[in-house]
Assembly symmetry: C2
Homo-oligomer: 379 residues x 2
């Protein structure tokens, strides 16, 4: 295939795969798409190891790295805030509510409390989602053969764009509104990911069917469609809407290569498209995730409103680790609470496959759907 | 064009137009699609007049009628409830809140209080959205040349399906989840309208990108895509997802033929795709509508939760009439409160056009988008 995105990124199929798992990244790149490693939870040491491993796997084929670098943020340098300062901003009501959930659902303590340092939001000791946390990650990505750097949350800061340009790397950014895309283009981004509300993780309210053509019309750089895309018909739809390719995240979570928590993977395979919710309960910003007792507790009208970012992830990170550690026991409270970010396509993720198979099936169904559509014109 | 939907409905282009305005219905049918008259707010007398007028306009070309017949409902016969019984179920807090909104926004009283009997939810004196209200409408539709009857809310009751079959009319039903579509098919419906969350009016949470292919796979009767569809690229996307055509509602609201309130039409033309909200504030069920001071008041955490259906429409109907009567004065409170049902494509409804022009542009862009997509295969 040949689209503006395959040309820009030098790939065979315009399918980008966002994943925290290096195996998914390598598998998709090897299948002719481009894997993009979500690095937010990586220590610098682990990121070095994983990028070396990926390069060894994929040879000269291109791969990307996804960072979360907010433009402005309470955890950043100037204010001189430390993690301890930030922790003090968490109200007791919220701490007590989290403790109460863990108690009511009989979630066991971690046997080694030092375990609670890492988890889904990074292990550097700095505040999660902070520029301070992301800078060393950026250095490592730029020192590797990383072809593409994406910024997943908000506008990429100018220093990030400038450094990528200096090092000859392409840079992309996610947009949930046309104005975001215009701002990204003006700042010098090479590629826009137009992400509709159907997506897993941080996501807005505008559906892909409306958002993708709006963004395609708002900018003149290539646009990838994202949100609700996990199969060939959806890829064809995104490209009929004007996108030059697709960006998929959720669909890899049930692949053989993914390190998704086994209890959560099982829930994903059983879930329908109605089983997700946009909730602030994990990160403090609206993120789509699987419904579970965790989201039910936070969405009840009589329970506290989630805090903002970074307070909510700091508040919930250790609790999430305790839940995940115990979630494999069927029927346990921890199992009922366990969830993770996932989009509405979870309803069609019904059997585990290899990541390479997902790419191949997507391309095959894309061809079928496109041929069937084109046949309408001649009928 | 030839699809399963054009064959079934005997039309040239698989574009169905839902509208409360007979002029839109006739214009779309004449342009080669099919207009479907939303009859919920019509008196039986007005419905007779409008269907006669439409038939005179369109000749032998087919048109449809859309009714709202809930399967089970507090306003229906068996319980022997009257409108007065139902009115008594409305709590004083809610009446007072509505009165308070009208007072704070300086919305003038109606000069003739008898005016308040009709409005957006029907004028028969029966409860809105009741089978009792819809039955005489069905009789009139069946006595006319109506080719297609749609039921917009919930599963069509068996008597509705049976009568349509007897009279040789086709019947369709909206579905916001795959299970709804399966149920409709099992009940004998001829056509499913798969309506994603982006849509205006009563709508679910699953986006079109995910919902349309799920429903296409769940049934073996033709499916129309709806929700977020107002231009050719979106039509091509819906059909790439497996739909045999599209069902559009919002896009007609800013056409020359539409009787949309002028103040609301002006707001629609200026609105972006981020300016809608799924709110229970008008009907008691989640319906997507333009954000305004009205939705802001009802969505505040310190204001009452909307009631269910039919209490909420009974509660708000007269207030809505007062608001609409005064909304043309720029800068007035009534103007700030005024809103109406509309989908996320309101962001691309930026200039008034004729309904026929909308159909022609949609077909032209559909062809362009399809040809561009097909070209990806040969590149």
């Amino acid at each position: 295939m040949k689209t503006a995105a395959t040309e820009l990124l030098d790939i065979e199929f315009p399918i980008l795969a966002f994943s925290h798992c290096r195996d998914v990244v390598a598998a998709v790149t090897k299948a002719g798409g481009m894997g993009v490693l979500g690095a937010v939870a990586h220590s610098t040491k682990q990121l070095e190891i994983d990028l070396d491993w990926i390069e060894n796997e994929v040879g000269d084929r291109p791969y990307g790295v996804d960072l979360i670098v907010p433009a402005k943020y309470a955890g950043d340098g100037d204010g001189g805030y430390t993690m301890d300062d930030i922790r003090k901003l968490i109200p007791d009501t919220h701490r007590e509510f989290v403790d109460d959930i863990l108690a009511r659902y009989d979630v066991p303590e971690l046997s080694d409390p030092n375990d609670a340092g890492g988890g889904m939001y990074g292990s550097s000791g700095d505040a999660p989602f902070s520029a301070k946390n992301a800078m060393p990650q950026l250095d490592i990505a730029l020192a590797h053969k990383t072809a593409f750097v994406a910024n997943a949350l908000g506008p990429p800061p100018q220093f990030l764009i400038d450094r990528c340009k200096q090092e000859g790397k392409l840079i992309g950014a996610l947009a949930g509104r046309p104005q975001h895309a215009e701002r990204h283009q003006a700042a010098g981004v090479d590629l826009i990911i137009a992400q509709g509300s159907e997506a897993g993780g941080h996501t807005g309210e505008i559906g892909s069917m409306v958002l993708i053509p709006e963004i395609v019309d708002a900018v003149d750089i290539p646009v990838l469609g994202a949100g609700g895309i996990g199969r060939g018909r959806q890829m064809a739809a995104a490209m009929a809407l004007g996108a030059e390719g697709v960006w998929c995240g959720s669909v890899w979570l049930t692949t053989d290569e993914a390190e998704t928590h086994p209890a959560v993977k099982e829930k994903f395979l059983a879930a329908t498209s109605a089983d997700t919710i946009r909730s602030r309960s994990l990160t403090g910003k609206h993120a789509r995730m699987l419904k579970s007792k965790w989201t039910e507790e936070w969405e009840r009208p009589d329970t506290p409103d989630p805090l903002g970012m970074p307070l909510q992830p700091i508040l919930t990170s250790a609790a999430q680790q305790r839940i995940n550690r115990a979630a494999n026991t069927p029927g346990s409270g921890a199992n009922e609470l366990a969830n993770y970010f996932v989009g509405q396509i979870v309803g069609t993720m019904n059997q585990p496959k290899s990541a390479g198979q997902v790419v191949m099936e997507m391309v095959e169904e894309f061809i079928e759907a496109t041929e069937a559509l084109a046949a309408q014109l001649t009928n």
